[in-house]
Homo-oligomer: 309 residues x 2
Amino acid sequence: MTSRPLLEGVLAPVVTPFRRDLSPDGERLLRHCRWLLENNCGLAVFGTNSEANSLSVDERIELLDMLVDSGLDPARMMPGTGCCAFPDTVRLTSHAVAHGVGGVLMLPPFYYKGVSDEGLYRSFAEVIDRVGDSRLRIYLYHFPQMSAVPFSIDLVGRLRDAFPGIVVGMKDSSGDRAHLESVLRAFPGFGMFAGNETLLLANLRAGGAGCISATANVNPAAIDRLFQRWRENDAEAIQASLNDVRLAVQQFTLVPALKKIVSHHASDPEWNRLRPPLVELSEADGKKLISDLEKLRFEMPGLKSFAQP
Amino acid sequence: MTSRPLLEGVLAPVVTPFRRDLSPDGERLLRHCRWLLENNCGLAVFGTNSEANSLSVDERIELLDMLVDSGLDPARMMPGTGCCAFPDTVRLTSHAVAHGVGGVLMLPPFYYKGVSDEGLYRSFAEVIDRVGDSRLRIYLYHFPQMSAVPFSIDLVGRLRDAFPGIVVGMKDSSGDRAHLESVLRAFPGFGMFAGNETLLLANLRAGGAGCISATANVNPAAIDRLFQRWRENDAEAIQASLNDVRLAVQQFTLVPALKKIVSHHASDPEWNRLRPPLVELSEADGKKLISDLEKLRFEMPGLKSFAQP
């Protein structure tokens, strides 16, 4: 167990751009990551909103190598590494830890449903044992609506007790404030990240670490402002304005909405492409999204200089 | 489009044995496959009950190479090849088709939930285009309870129309007889496999092709007998006795139950091991399972000579 500081603040599950042949566009990804870091936003690359589960293990390894080789600070990264098959999870996690990442975000194996806590415990224990590296920091990825494999409070406690300093936190994407607070009550000091910024203030007040939010891809500075000022008088007002942007975005499917926004503000149509099974927004939906955000005076300052080829 | 006959009859999603270090035990798998073929049971290797989604792509490729190199007939195989990321699905499918398999069983990309028919259509179209081989025969794997990504009738029709002779059938694991019959009414001649043998007679009467059932791993000859005699007077009686065995097995989680049965009848404790997140049956559950099957005079004739090391 090292004494490195744990991750905190705002991270984006970084959206992954694709070329015309649907191969990952490393150059555009790198520029977007640089813009996010410039806005004090950490890099939860290979999350749900990164379409990570539409990428092969090799593709994820090559992209992470590229980002680190390009000089981005791995300590600001929390790559997603949880796969259905533990050999894949072990491979991705070992690779990320070897790069010195700040932590990894780990989905449970998500194909088999209705599995026992014992089975999930063994999955994580197997991975931790095989990675065999004390630098490993795992954030459990609780996202029942997408993985359909939730973490029970019992399981979190068992993992935390068995692997202190390794199982250090959670991303709670349930959207359920009561759940988030109950985990923090059960495990004070647990590195809890809210799954979106609408719960950022509540999470910080309950002792949490920050948020990892899809919308941080497009609104990082404003979300970070709440993280910096959450003890101040204007915190509620900042939270309210963050919520307005979030609501405008999440009226549509998140990944295509985020890509439409980046594409529009970067004046770069190449960004508006997804891997199946996700599809781009219709023209009408895209127009409504951009127009609703304009009404909120939403901007992405500096994006063009980072985002354009 | 070739004129090879399409797959029919009974197939087992072949259970995958693991060694003490949880690596796949190719030797035991081969012996079990030989016993299944001896009982006129086809090999749907790498299905849900094979723990295929707990295997890496490389592990599945190596196991299939080993089975084919050992002389098993690839025309009797329908390997599962559907992954979350299309590059993985393309790789597994191309490899299986190059071996001359009878067909492939393809899950939809199953991480992202609530995706559109258009997105699923593009997923399959992308895979078919990239595999680019007229020998490809796809069976759509409909299993809403596990994948949480169902196929709509519209989508099945669109895929079948766009790729005639390639999208040739479905495994319907919904367990919903009305759904199975509605697909066959919409698409007469579609290669429909019931997801378990309790619907085999109904499926054959509705024009379906057979069944792919977990229980075929342990009860293949009896299930094949129904396939051979479904037009005879004793068909209902055979169906009823198959149902008794199925009910005894499915009172427990299927994969651990199947491995317990094989382990017991082969007198081989090595079979009773699973990859997490699945776990073996408790001792009490295992005893009840074996005893309930004994009451039904259940046997696995010849297994020992095939199954023992």
